[in-house]
Symmetry: C5
């Protein structure tokens, strides 16, 4: 039904996906952006490509998540950067998963409680 | 015979390869997608390019594997992300190899059984 | 009002954003570059794209910062490189944040003051 | 003489170089592929671009090597992946250098032969 | 005066910069390549883009250096690869800075001169 292809220009990087993928999470802002009757639909270029003024590379793990239900991202990508986008697009579960990863990373390492040599 | 060139748009990233490469594993979903008589053939753009709504960068090690029979991928790529795609495209051997790598990574490190100083 | 789309060619890399984003910091050079009545407006290509003779990849975290108010960048990007651009574009707060990160990185590690075994 | 420019599409990534560079190693398969009288010449697209069904990013260090005589590659690139391509293109010296790097990496680390505390 | 825009195709990667930037170091080969009266000017494509048969990604820190006077490059880039290009383009100061970084990296780590436990 909604398998219509969508071309997105996110901050200069082109992504191709389907409307179904973008509307996967009904409570998200992305759902509203790509619903037919919503005033939140992003502007379009002459070739029909939607323009979104956000980071295009951090949008990739967001699309991955919508496609597969899994959070996977390359080791050089900043989870804080992805979180910023997940929040903007109103993806609550994904934001929660990312927040957990960031909290864990920042947690102080346990100092080994070594008994002194006597 | 099947050395026909195929242009793929995987989530916005363009890959060029041959039908022979895509049909290397007869039990895979990719084989079916690029067989001539299958209803699973992906949709095409006006220029003949096939559209696949999956991650285009993780598709690269999958193409490498089909071309060379070897699993090689860059150190910044997430093996979990590649596994997700390998499963989607029904590449069982590749999925198995990736699962082994992920299991090994998560295995707890052996704590050195150091004899106490006495 | 200023949600007009702007196409930038920064050293060969294309970024799409809005005039609002580029004019976020009123004290910045970027603000002046994209104000309507300023002689600092960069030159344009035939297709209307603005040309800026700076590094296009380091410009990405700068755009992120203007869009979200957060400094986030990938682990492989050099903070010194981003700082150079933040200074060029007259973004003082961002420069300050980056300088703090660089100072912290270069700080000598504390040598553990271990008491000798006797 | 052979400074003619060649456009290559290696698995979807475009490289520009000269025939001289591609024919640097007379014993390689690449030499044969770009000799005038050889049946191994790759197929071409309408715009004259040669199509090669191999990994385009691993082809970069191979071109570097032909251009400069030095093996240099980015730290995130997999040497096993480059080796696979070096072998395919019949570059024996480069394959040998890469094999040495891989062997060294996999070599077990020497366990410090510490004399026990008594 | 020389703020004329130049489009470069370095091994397949496009860079945009000005003639002023390329002619920053009067003793460099790049200066000669982009002087008006020199036979070393690179060949051009139909669209006026200059073709240079070198690595396009390592050319990025070289452009950064010419633009800002600072050597900054991403952590995944090989300094040996950048040095190779700096030498080719006759940038002596930059080559010297890179050589220092490489020498430092290869320097053997000092083995802690620990007094034996007695």
């Amino acid at each position: 039904m909604n398998s219509e292809w969508i071309k997105l220009n996110v901050g200069g990087i082109i992504h191709h996906t389907t409307r179904t993928t973008l509307m996967k999470d009904e409570n998200s802002m992305l759902f509203r952006m790509f619903s037919y009757n919503d005033y939140m639909t992003p502007g379009r270029m002459e070739d029909g490509c939607y323009l979104i003024d956000r980071n295009g590379r951090y949008f990739e793990p967001i699309l991955n998540y919508l496609r597969t239900g899994q959070l996977t991202y390359d080791t050089n990508l900043s989870p804080e950067g992805i979180l910023e986008e997940a929040r903007f697009f109103g993806l609550d579960e994904l934001s929660y998963e990312l927040q957990k990863i960031i909290d864990k990373k920042e947690e102080p390492k346990n100092i080994d409680d070594t008994t002194p040599l006597t």
